[in-house]
Symmetry: C2
Subunit: 225 residues, 2 copies
DNA sequence: TGCGATTTGTCCGTATGTATT
DNA sequence: TAATACATACGGACAAATCGC
């Protein structure tokens, strides 16, 4: 099953370049490669059975998305993780998601709320299966709801730009803890507040929600990798 | 290495791909190409005297940055402008810049303030020359100050992602009005508030500042292109 | 320090798929 | 329907930079 399929826009992969981008992104976000690991073009080209031309274009895309880092003439690496990067990621997520909620607040129709509940159900259902990739995918789908509802396509694109890094960090966290059912009550509160009528409460909960996630993943970083 | 340093004074473009990216970006943001205009690879390759391999990689970078839009097997175009896109751009700018000010507020040293004043002086000095590209560059440098001071590299990268589109819109505005010395008092107030001690006043001014800029460019859109 | 091996970066020729006329 | 133009893809080759011995 395609991990990123439910997160990224359902762009039909018409070109080989797009397929390659998707494949490498999946490999990285599903933990096949470790942060900081070096990628060599020839190895990838042989592994994926493609020529270097479309491969290099795909790699360039992933560098621009922040998934890979490039050093001219030295090579490509999976973006290394650091506590600083992690803090920045979560603080920016907090700002963007609060902004999204302010935009989407008056757009919450019955259908929209039902949609969020459906995403919540799928997330809860995925957790006990132990399928990490699936759970992370559902978690991101749950959080994507407000960005999509906001109707702010530029904001949505900036959120999509963050998701691969969020995935990478979640994989690290899973690796250290095995599951994050511990956050189930946070997610449930998030859902209830999103259905409620107190926007300020929702906004402050987002900040708390993010802070909890940040601390958890920071602990994973300190212990493991 | 200092991130901000690489932006203001871009390190030597070691690879041809980086040089091509910069050249096309300059052509687009300086108004050589119109929004919506089609770009053909062969023409660009001949014009820039490069082969298609690094050219295509550079084009892929610009697509990811949002400067160009790609339709598989149909071609590339300079991103068309629309009122909706413009509103989204300015609303997101408002959020990001307010966030940056909250982060940077307690980091405003004497040197930092002097830096901002220096950027202000260069902006004011550039306006009467009529050099559009230079004026726009100084305007962006002025606004970049707070992002750099914030120390939030991820936020800075998202701001840099917005700047090409901001440039494109500014070019349209210039084309319709010839100059925007009309905003000089806004910029002056921005500087004074940034030097002051009332953060809330600064934040609300940013919202107003952006709103003014949005309305001005929207008018340009309605009249001209 | 130098030298060879490896990898990235670049170029070219050609073939194929797609859209447009 | 055919023809043309163009984007896409491939493989081979060489140059440039880096790395390891």
């Amino acid at each position: 099953m395609d991990v990123a399929e439910n997160i990224l826009k359902p762009v039909e992969d018409r070109t080989l370049r797009a397929q390659i981008t998707r494949q490498i992104l999946d490999m990285v976000t599903s933990g096949n490669y470790f942060p900081g690991e070096k990628l060599t073009e020839n190895a990838l080209a042989e592994q994926l059975q493609v020529s270097r031309a479309p491969l290099r274009e795909a790699l360039r895309e992933l560098v621009d998305r922040g998934v890979l880092v490039s050093q001219p003439y030295k090579g490509l690496r999976v973006r290394p993780v650091s506590g600083t990067d992690l803090k920045e990621l979560y603080s920016l997520r907090t700002e963007l998601e609060q902004f999204a909620f302010r935009l989407a607040w008056n757009k919450r129709s019955e259908d929209a709320v039902a949609d969020l509940e459906s995403r919540y159900d799928r997330l809860i259902a995925a957790q006990p299966t132990g399928d990490q990739a699936r759970t992370i995918s559902k978690e991101l789908s749950f959080h994507s709801w407000v960005y999509e509802l906001s109707g702010h396509s530029l904001l949505l694109s900036h959120w999509h730009r963050l998701t691969p890094l969020v995935q990478i960090y979640m994989v690290l966290h899973f690796r250290a803890h095995g599951s994050h059912g511990q956050f189930r009550h946070m997610t449930t509160e998030y859902l209830q507040l999103a259905k409620g009528e107190d926007l300020d409460l929702m906004l402050s909960h987002i900040a708390e929600h993010m802070q909890q996630g940040l601390l958890a993943v920071l602990k994973s970083l300190d212990r493991g990798d």
